[in-house]
Amino acid sequence: MTNFTIGPDNSGLSPTLLQAISATSLEVELDLPRLAAQDLADLKAILKGEKRTNVPISTKRALNALVRSERSPETRAITASILSDSRQPNRVRSLAALNLSLMPAPETERALIQNLQEANTQLQASVVRSLGRIGTVQAFEQLQRLDTASELVRRQVAFAKQTIAYRSDSSAPDLQAERTRLPLAQRDQLSAPARSTTGWATFSAKPVTGHPVQEKVRNIWGSTYGLTLNQTLGLEVDCGTAQHFLFLHERLQQGRFLAGLRSRPSIIGLLAPEPEPEQHVTIRYVLLANPSDQGLALAVTRTNGDLVYGGDGTLTRAGLRFTLRDVGPTLTPTEIVGQVSDDEIQLTLRIGPENSRPKRHGVAI
């Protein structure tokens, strides 16, 4: 059998740190090592170029270990300096850009804006993506002016502008205009034609309260798109083949659900797949709502901006009735119907038996 082992390290680093940042080691399915104080100090020194190792290290892994272990001004400064370091591979700089969105602050936004004019479109797209997650009106204005021929960047700009507009309180005309364009796709896509749902499987979402919600919020890895989440209430959504959890905006509290929903255009929730036991939670869908006189428009997008479900709600005497349908690239024909009063959110999923679209197969080489 081939021996792939590399030579021993004698730079005085602990085996734990070496394991966490080695280029030939991985915690495969969740590679976000958490380090103790001395290891963290050594790691910072390595990333600042003050300490050398004599085994190959992965800067990507090092960046993740850093942000997992400590979110501080120092972590932000180190991450920002790697983002700005043109000697680093674009992939590493892209990760630095994305990790910055885990530490929202005016300095973070400034660091990202400074790198917004990057010539490499993948890196530029990552900077835009990160700005969409934490940016304010400053970032919005920069994105508004950004001129690009890259479809990759253009798509990220559209999604970033949308999420900033839906998050921001700013009454700047451009942001207000952006909020009226719900979602980034055309409005007519939102009102997909009704289909017969006879024979479809039906699932009701169950409210989850208290400690388990807190636990799930704590386990989220990645951006929450600037949302402060409701720590005491969420919804468990069973789709038959998969279970998801719906995190709600903090504003949506029992007793004032309807008011919270209709107060302003906003990101109202985040949907995440239920993780395997002990694993972290990553957000899969972003829920947007835009109130109108008659009710509200609703859209659900993937975290890359693809519109997946769209629909609207109408005010009735009992509250708000809404229907969403799959309008984008999901595989299963889905109808989500529900009713919201100030005290209750009811949600039912209907899933069709056949796939709603064929998969794509790429190009043969």
Partner: protein
């Protein structure tokens, strides 16, 4: 030997006429490379219990105008060669390689991915039904790769990943390339039904703290007979040809 080569190419790989050993029999299309297995051993492996693989380069364009450079495109090929050697320990062959790419224009949402986005990717794309899908992507933000454990052979199955998603290695050193092979063997091992092991020298790594996360390193090269038997029981495994 010649007859055996042609016969195997025809019956196992569906290739006839003029053939290139490297391209048509090994399935290596990305320039020259040092192979670990001799032609004879390789033919034995693919004639026996084996499976097919469909490799996607996510964000590639012809002439390397996309996100993959030449070295990165060659990485999965090297990884397959390493995986073939690792799986040979338990008598599981990697028979036919389908190569696919997703052009940058169609991959715009998939430059960087987290765990949920990896599910979106396999929901959008799939390869031929008789091979396991492996997607090579540029950047996974929170892991080295993912796979469904004991994955489906129905590519239209919803609600779960129907393939493995792996990040390209950050370096093209031999150590990194070999490690990429271990990573591929690890992820495909999951898809074929394997759980994490309890020793770092196993391809399936160790999960000694029981947190569900497997750790591998450059010494994770062994497989046990029992693991081989599990793999041979997966729906994607083909009988001898």
């Amino acid at each position: 030997m010649k007859t055996s080569l042609r016969a195997t190419a025809a019956s196992c790989l569906g290739v006839s006429g003029k053939l290139s050993v490297r391209r048509d029999v090994f399935g290596y299309i990305w320039g020259p490379m040092d192979r670990r297995l001799s032609v004879k051993t390789h033919l034995q492996r693919i004639r026996g219990t084996a499976f097919n693989l469909c490799v996607f380069l996510v964000g590639h364009d012809p002439g390397f105008g996309g996100w993959f450079d030449q070295d990165e495109a060659r990485q999965p090929q090297h990884a397959i060669d390493v995986m073939r050697e690792l799986y040979a320990q338990v008598g599981v062959g990697v028979r036919k390689i389908y190569w696919r790419y997703i052009p940058v224009a169609e991959a715009t949402g998939y430059f960087s991915l987290d765990g949920a986005e990896a599910t979106d990717l396999t929901e959008d794309f799939s390869g031929p039904n008789d091979g396991l899908d492996v997607f090579y992507v540029q950047l996974i933000t929170d892991a080295g790769g993912w796979s469904k454990r004991n994955g489906s052979c129905d590519k239209n199955k919803t609600g779960e990943r129907t393939g493995s998603v792996i990040e390209v290695q950050g370096s093209n050193s031999t150590a990194s390339l070999n490690f990429g092979g271990i990573l591929l063997a690890h992820e495909v091992g999951h898809y074929l039904g394997l759980a994490h092991a309890d020793t770092i020298t196993n391809v399936m790594g160790s999960d000694t703290d029981g947190d569900g996360i497997g750790t591998i390193n450059s010494t994770s090269v062994n497989l046990t007979t029992s693991q081989g038997n599990t793999m041979k029981g997966h729906c994607s495994i083909k009988s001898a040809c």
